[in-house]
Amino acid sequence: MGYRKVAIVGAGMTKFVRRAQETGKELSWQAAKMALDSCELTLDQVDCVTLGTAPDAFDGVHMKGEYLADGAGAWRKPYMRHYVGGGTGVFSPIHGWFHIASGMADIVLVVAEEKMSSCHPHPQGAFITIFDHTTEQPLKPNLIWIFALEMNRYMQTYGLSKKDIALVSVKNKKNAIDHPAAQVAEEITVDDVLNSETLAWPVNRLDISPASDGAAAIVLVSERVARRLTDKPVWIDGVGFSIDTAYWATRDLSYPNYVETAARMAYDMAGITEPSKQIHVAEPYDPFDYKELHHMEGLMLCPRGKAAQLTADGVTQRDGNMPICPSGGALGVGNPIAATGLMKVIEIFLQLRGDAGKRQVPGNPTCGLAQAWGDLMQMGTVVVMRS
């Protein structure tokens, strides 16, 4: 289609923690420096920098892109910030991909940062401005409500129970025990999830990922540079992104159409015709446990309403036929929003290189995907990667 091939050759990240001593700039620097070191590049070799970070309201800083630019290594370079809510972290590699696929750059440093702890006493206070200021904010909604509403509709449509969905949280928190950046890795049971505080039925505390601080970074390069730097490049073979209506109460809440649209775009580009067979390992966005299931269905990795059964059957475990969130996901590793999406891209990068250590899924996977979702539950971002 006239695109140049784009490879991921390096990656870096910080630990994900509830509140970091480091500023957002310092976290960005730590992740970016590690990513460059991992592929033995220096900043002067980088042609341009892109940065993903979610709402300015978290930080109370106007124009976070400009604020974080030095930490991301951007000063005196072409630089752009992107932001599509929770979908940001998987839009990050897409934004970097444009610059190389178009022929404009050969080496791009892609950084994703989030510091949610600055907003007191809880970032939920900033989230209220997501809702329409005239028709919704006067009802004083909390962002968790909208997920509770969606989860309830999803459960009702397919006859699912809270138990079916809690299995996702149990799996991901356990997977995260093997992730060196993890914030809330633990071995828990379905009963622990069901007995945790009910925040907004059907959502309990352990159905939700935590608020986090953290950063992640990758290095993208053109084919010519990739061949010189590594014998294990991972190619970005498909990218997709799509936004649905912000009149969220008029959408079919049981199915994420915006994820399907984004996935179809990425699959077409990557030549994926049977996702459930051709995708060997996937990292869908899991800020809530039901969202992993919702997203598996939107990604067409299984028929609608069937993701819970696959989870119960162990198919989505690391050693199952379709490993889902082997990293531990947002539920286990933590959820510094933009950084989470890029953490998922990094996990697929490592899995496809056979470099995921204890988290490695068996069977030498050669094709994987990462997906995120955000804004007012209407933005889908998808990247398909091959070794």
Partner: protein, 181 residues
């Protein structure tokens, strides 16, 4: 490369680290105030709410009757055509039973849980819902598919806001449909 080969950075703080002054932080309470103009479509929507009426807007091309109303159809990308008065009744599309307030603080002891819902408004196209609250119902009795009716503020109290509807409550079956005793 393996993540395990690197010492990942990022220093976790505890609240006690800040309280005890082990690390210093700077805080700020912004004083931000906004006044949002309601625009053409939502302006009329709110004026009608003040009059005790829910109103939608129709696009004659895709034949949708939309709520909240809008002056342009975002799908056909053309002006919408007509104001359509809607019922103040509807169907619960989904709901939640809520123990957290907007700022993540918890409902106080003795305060009943809130019941936000997506309500598909009668007279609008199928699936056209708005978020509002349910009340005058035991949380245990709320069901998806339940018929509900708006409970309005009194005429003097209404000010042209979504909160002119206090909440929706279960709708009684219409008189004609009642079984004979």
């Amino acid at each position: 490369m393996k993540l395990e080969d690197y010492e990942l950075r990022g220093t976790a703080l505890r609240s006690s680290d800040i309280k005890k002054g082990k690390v210093l932080s700077t805080s700020w309470e912004p004083d931000l105030k906004y006044a949002w103009d309601n625009g053409v479509a939502i302006g009329r929507y709110l004026a009608e709410l003040k009059a005790g009426q829910i109103i939608g807007r129709a696009c004659h091309k895709c034949r949708r009757i939309m709520i909240p109303p809008r002056m342009f159809c975002e799908l056909c990308f053309r002006p919408t055509d007509e104001w359509i008065p809607l019922e103040d009744t509807g169907t619960v599309n989904t709901f939640s039973i809520v123990h957290v307030n907007w700022d993540a603080s918890r409902r106080k002891k003795g305060e009943p849980p809130l019941i936000p819902a997506v309500i598909e408004i009668d007279g609008a196209s199928k699936g056209m819902g708005i978020m509002h609250m349910l009340s005058e119902v035991d949380p245990k009795d709320v069901k998806i598919g339940m018929k509900v009716k708006a409970v309005w503020k009194s005429e003097e109290e209404r000010e042209g806001a979504i909160t002119d509807i206090l909440y929706f409550k279960p709708a009684r079956a219409k008189a004609g449909k009642r079984r004979k005793q």
